[in-house]
Symmetry: C2
Subunit: 159 residues, 2 copies
DNA sequence: GTAAACTCGACAACGTGGTTGACCAAACCG
DNA sequence: CGGTTTGGTCAACCACGTTGTCGAGTTTAC
């Protein structure tokens, strides 16, 4: 009643489309990563490695960047360590801290991820046209609250 | 080298934007739902109730619609039952089946969700323009594989 | 310089949402 | 009729998150 009755799309579909888009990209990334020698990188690990970055970081810092508790971040780092993607080294300047650094294996995963992300974006650009894709990104940036790149997926789903 | 060097956006940002958009909508939905008398509806419950629908469904069917195992669906139905959103009734025509039906409380939650989704979409339409939003939806539909509305978030993140 | 306050990393208990595997009972199908 | 499929449940387990506690090390304030 209030406004246009165009009724073009149910509002329920929009979040589903956004999630499906996200998921499509992440699924394809990991499928490709698996093909390229990184079969056990999981989404959570990928995000954690991104948060660690080439410069390394402490577990607490990773937690902050990902928007999760330091304990959660610590556990993820544990798993990454077991898989050989990162190593922990003592910080000589501060005995409390343990710097988490990507191993060469971790760097390789990160490099390949970046390349695959570019390929996937290029595919979208081909399917939609560069302009449309750019518009999509611009529009998304305008409607999502800035600054917030919170990746606490599992915990968020549960409360 | 291969193509345009515009370098407008890192491919890494696209999935983040999509996820942030999804999350923004879902978070705002649940904040509003909480304000309207449904403080304990969580994202997983909302999706499950959508899957049950006004006609009701069996737990196995819910699992199929959500893309999760029947056991997982059964557990979610358990929680919904405790919260008073659904009830289980025996199917007189098939003694194995237990039909899961939304209670009036569940229907209310679903109705309000639909209304809130429309409001949120209207907000986006206001911020972006109706045409841009429609384009965004169209584009998303063309790049995500059709049919697939898989909501097994937690399990998917882990594997 | 020492006491208070903060920070890092770790341990433990727990919650949520998912998975497999095993079963039984009921229904379907040859 | 007997064999297969399907629905629901139990039990164990896993991944990822949470809070609370704690000791050790660092910083800040007096």
């Amino acid at each position: 009643m209030a406004s246009a009755m165009a009724e073009d799309t149910s509002g329920f579909e929009l979040p589903l489309l956004l999630f499906a888009g996200f998921r499509t990209i992440i699924d394809r990334l990991h499928a490709e990563l698996a093909r390229q020698g990184h079969p056990d990188v999981r989404p959570a690990y990928g995000f954690a490695m991104q948060a660690i970055g080439r410069g390394g970081a402490t577990a607490s810092e990773v937690g902050r960047r990902l928007g999760v508790s330091k304990q959660a971040a610590g556990k993820t780092v544990d798993r990454l360590e077991v898989l050989g993607y990162v190593e922990r080294v003592d910080d000589p300047a501060d005995a409390r801290r343990k710097l988490v650094r990507l191993t060469s294996h971790g760097i390789d995963a990160l490099d390949r991820s970046a390349a695959i992300f570019e390929e996937l974006r290029a595919e979208w650009a081909k399917a939609l046209g560069v302009e449309r894709l750019r518009a999509l990104e611009v529009d998304l940036r305008t409607v999502v609250p800035p600054g917030l790149f919170r990746l606490d997926v599992a915990g968020w789903f549960g409360s």
